[in-house]
Amino acid sequence: MSNRAKHWEKTKGQMIVTLLLWFFFGYVIFMFGESINSASFLGYPLAYYMCAQGSLLAFVVILFWSANKQEKIDEEFGFNTGEDD
């Protein structure tokens, strides 16, 4: 397998992992909104907290994590773009 093909395989894998996390925080939690709402976090009902703040924060963290991870993959195969901003 060529360098490019390997890079694309890893990139695809990273995309799938990111979307699984996205699916969990965006959908799975709210499928069970009714049952998790009796639990509490910081004093808020859990389902309310997740849609007011929790999932939103999770999305931000996932984005930074995933961007860093993808940068590492790019560097591993020598595709880093160099610019540091």
Binding site: G43, Y48, L56, L57, L63, F64, A67, N80
Partner: protein, 612 residues
């Protein structure tokens, strides 16, 4: 004078700007104490901020194609994040979101999840690849990847329909705020709003819009956060409301149980003469509605908003302006961070303002008190006179019940500083923030439409030999025409039949999501497949909208897919048609396949040239 060094000096420039803005707020506060009238403060806030945006717009004027279309691809990650956040958060997010949570509680908050989660799709499926492609507009990608003018044209149609649905609402919002702050009629306010929008974008295109959007983000986030933190601290709810309002949310639950959540019958509302657009609280604030259907409605709305986010061209094109592919990816993360700052504050604002009205033990509480006493409160009589609030004594007991208090959603944000007893300078600040939010989104949308028409229709199809000067003149003329068309429709006050902002997301996802994503991720996707997908997706989505929307045919929604969620139908049809037709047609030629391979490699030259 402005290039090169300008980019290095950005933190200093915007730091000075932020400091200057804070000093301006303090000066206004002093002027208020010295006896300056509310009207003057309102006018100064709006005039001062809009003046600054216009100045930035003038400084950023350009005669270069790549500066006009993609800001020269030099916008640093964090600043592009701020600009995207301003581009994204519309007048609706700023003014109506807290109001939506106020009335809809948990059910409405599906929008919060939907309007943030979409950025994960943007980052992992599209933004880096479109940046590598090096296109000027979104149809530019479709047109080059699939080849041929028909594919390009279909993409322009979807883009125009989705963005135009959105832009009239934005111009409407700038008109409302300008009218209120400058004390002029709404019809005039709309045109004042339009002129302000064009001042920001006309001379410098994307470059000017970028730098004004950063300035607008700073104003809107300041205007949103100051009241939230101030009210929370002053009311003794905690200095950091996001982490400390657990008890208040629980208290709202108790009050809901005490007063009862009653959904008024439509006939009663009509008989009492409640003005249109006003609502009463009938849904629990933090309670999750029972049953699988309610859960499905929550996640299906979130799904539409997320997929729509990843298909809206005015957002995607912001990531064409970063220096590299890596920077585009990071920039998406920063965008969502800046959006998160406002979105996570909206539920807190809704909680605080709801509590201050509902809790009879607080001096600001009005529910459960005598109607005659409530009507005598200054802000109640002011908003009632403007038909923004209404009291209907359904049971005739002279006491204000929860279901007897009606209010327009927008009023929640606009009136909260006043209701909580903050100085008027905060209300002026909020008006400036709302104006910034509506203007920045309108700018992005008008530019997205005008750029698609000038680059994809005029330059690529009508006159490919046009020189740079002619192209930029056409681009600017189109900008004025699109803006004027939006303002004209907004001034006719027919927005109620134009439908919801959510429709823009549904239109975009119906026609564009799969052609964009499969263009990157599936080499086998063919021109015929993409064209058939766009036509079938947009067609079926629109047909379903007409079938289900109460003001059109009004048929019962199938599986809970109502007019806010019609994109689910459109996008599914688009996917199936696109895959089937692609497999039936011969696979793309080797040049196209090579282009897709090249697209997936983050380093190296863009696929389209610097000037094209």
């Amino acid at each position: 004078m402005f290039k090169g060094k300008f980019i290095d000096n950005l933190p200093k420039i915007y730091g000075t700007y932020t400091g200057g803005f804070l000093i301006f707020i303090i000066l206004m506060a002093i002027a208020e104490q010295a006896g300056m009238t509310k009207e003057t403060i309102g006018i100064l806030f709006v005039a001062f901020t809009v003046g600054i945006y216009a100045f930035i717009g003038w400084l950023s004027r350009t005669v270069q194609v790549d500066a006009y279309y993609v800001a020269g691809r030099t916008v640093p990650t964090v600043f592009n994040g701020m600009a995207t956040a301003a581009d994204w958060m519309s007048g609706a997010s700023f003014v109506a979101m807290a109001g939506g949570i106020y009335f809809g509680g948990y059910t409405y908050m599906a929008f919060l999840v939907g309007w943030t989660g979409g950025y994960i799709l943007v980052s992992s499926l599209l933004a880096p690849y479109l940046r590598k492609f090096g296109c000027y507009t979104v149809p530019d990608f479709i047109g080059t990847r699939y080849g041929g003018n028909l594919a390009r044209f279909c993409a322009v149609v979807v883009l125009t329909l989705a963005s135009f649905t959105y832009v009239t609402a934005q111009i409407n919002a700038t008109g409302t705020i300008a009218a209120r702050a400058l004390q002029i009629p709404f019809e005039l306010g709309v045109w004042v709003g339009l002129v302000s929008i064009l001042l920001c974008s006309m001379l410098g295109g994307m470059r000017a819009v970028t730098w004004t959007q950063v300035a607008q983000y700073i104003v809107l986030i300041t205007a949103y956060l100051i009241p939230v933190f101030w009210i929370s601290t002053r009311g003794g709810y905690g200095f950091f409301p996001h982490l400390m309002l657990g008890e208040e949310v629980a208290r709202l639950g108790e009050l809901e149980a005490q007063f009862g959540l009653v959904k008024n019958a439509a006939a009663d509302i009509k008989a009492a003469g409640v003005p249109g657009g006003l609502k009463s609280i009938s849904l629990p604030h933090a309670g999750v509605p029972e049953g699988g259907m309610a859960a499905w409605k929550f996640i299906s709305l979130a799904l539409c908003m997320m997929v729509g986010t990843a298909s809206l061209p005015h957002i995607l094109m912001r990531y064409f302006t970063t220096p590299s592919v890596k920077a585009a990816r990071k920039s998406v993360a920063w965008s969502l961070f800046f959006i998160f700052l406002l979105y996570s504050s909206a539920p807190m604002l809704a909680t605080l303002s709801k509590l201050s009205l509902m809790d009879p033990t607080l001096p600001t509480g009005i529910i459960g008190k005598e109607i005659s006493a409530v009507m005598a409160i200054d802000w109640v009589s002011a908003w009632t006179a403007q038909k923004q609030a209404f009291i209907a004594d359904f049971n005739g007991d002279g006491i204000l019940q929860l279901n007897e208090w009606f209010m327009r959603g927008d009023v929640v944000v606009l009136s909260t500083p006043e209701v909580a007893g903050l100085p008027y300078v905060i209300s002026g600040l909020v008006a400036a923030g709302g104006m910034a939010a509506a203007m920045s989104t309108a700018d992005g949308l008008v530019l997205a439409i005008a750029n698609a028409l000038s680059h994809d229709i005029y330059f690529k199809m009508v006159d490919p030999k046009a020189d740079v000067r002619k192209r930029l003149i056409v681009a600017r003329v189109l900008l004025v025409i699109i803006g004027a068309a939006g303002a004209y429709i907004a001034s006719m006050r027919i927005t109620s039949i134009l439908g919801a902002v959510a429709w823009a997301f549904d239109f975009a996802m119906s026609g564009l999501f799969f052609p964009l994503v499969l263009g990157v991720w599936w080499k086998r996707a063919t021109r015929q497949g993409a064209i058939a997908g766009m036509i079938a997706g947009l067609g079926s989505g629109t047909a379903y909208l007409i079938y289900v929307y109460p003001k059109f045919m009004g048929n019962p929604a199938w599986l809970g897919i109502d007019h806010l969620r019609f994109g689910i139908i459109g996008a599914s049809v688009c996917l199936v048609v696109m895959v089937v037709v692609s497999l039936m047609t011969p696979e793309p030629d080797s040049a196209t396949q090579k282009m897709v391979d090249e697209l997936r490699v983050p380093s190296g030259k863009t696929i389209l040239g610097k000037q094209h």
